[in-house]
């Protein structure tokens, strides 16, 4: 089955720095990969989608890369702010019937002022 690994340890960074989160996967080649943000007590919120034939995607201060050879995606938040503190989830879609997403366990990001 698909295995998705995200660093379970919290990432602590200083405000203004760039946060980089990693998502590694095994076994399948997903059609595309998504990143979500989840705040405590809330449902995940969709941030970005990147397709298998795209190397990089940007949205405001967010940047996602997708390396299908390494089976890895990197999620960057530039000029990080305390408001960026949350858990970030990556999710893979293998384009199977039902368009189901498989989620990683998430990485908690703490941005300190």
């Amino acid at each position: 089955s698909q295995k998705i690994e995200q660093n379970s340890e919290a990432l602590n960074i200083q405000e203004g720095k760039t946060a980089t989160l990693t998502c590694n996967y095994t076994n399948y080649s997903p059609a595309y990969l998504q990143w979500y943000r989840q705040d405590p007590g809330r449902g995940p919120v969709f941030l970005l989608l990147i397709r298998e034939n795209e190397k990089e995607k940007r949205k405001e201060r967010l940047k996602v890369t997708f390396d299908t050879t390494l089976k890895q995606s990197l999620f960057h938040i530039t000029a990080s702010q305390p408001a960026d503190s949350a858990t970030y989830l990556c999710a893979l879609d293998i384009a199977s019937a039902g368009n189901m997403l498989t989620f990683g366990g998430g990485t908690r990001l703490m941005v300190k002022p």
Binding site: Y32, G43, F46, L49, L89, A97, L101, F103
Partner: protein, 112 residues
């Protein structure tokens, strides 16, 4: 979240009782999903639907059933609740395969 609501938000129930959670959308999206989220396991798919009366099992479907008689409603039923089903349940919707999911606010279910 806008366009998707879950009810109830919190529920405590006794082992062995049936429980139904409701997900309602106003977006007319085709796809609807039920996930559970537990510490150490992340989000795991229980069941999903790709249209009215069209449903299928996900990764952790044992002990759960679903129904979708209308586009806007997707019901998750625990036929006989067990303590292992204590969890936070999220419903999600999606319009096409290229969209992100929109999640509801979740239902925190405790089985005692």
């Amino acid at each position: 979240d806008a366009g998707i609501t879950q009810s109830p938000r919190h529920k405590v129930t006794e082992t062995g009782t049936p429980v139904t959670l409701r997900c309602h959308q106003t977006e007319n999206h085709r796809y609807m999903y039920w996930y559970r989220q537990d510490p150490g396991h992340g989000l795991r798919l229980i069941h999903y639907s790709y249209g009215v009366k069209d449903t299928d099992k996900g990764e952790v479907s044992d002990g759960y059933s679903v129904s979708r008689s209308k586009t806007e409603d997707f019901l998750l039923t625990l036929e006989s609740a067990t303590s292992s089903q204590t969890s936070v349940y999220f419903c999600a919707i999606r319009d096409t395969g290229l969209d992100g999911y929109t999640f509801g606010s979740g239902t925190r279910l405790t089985v005692v």
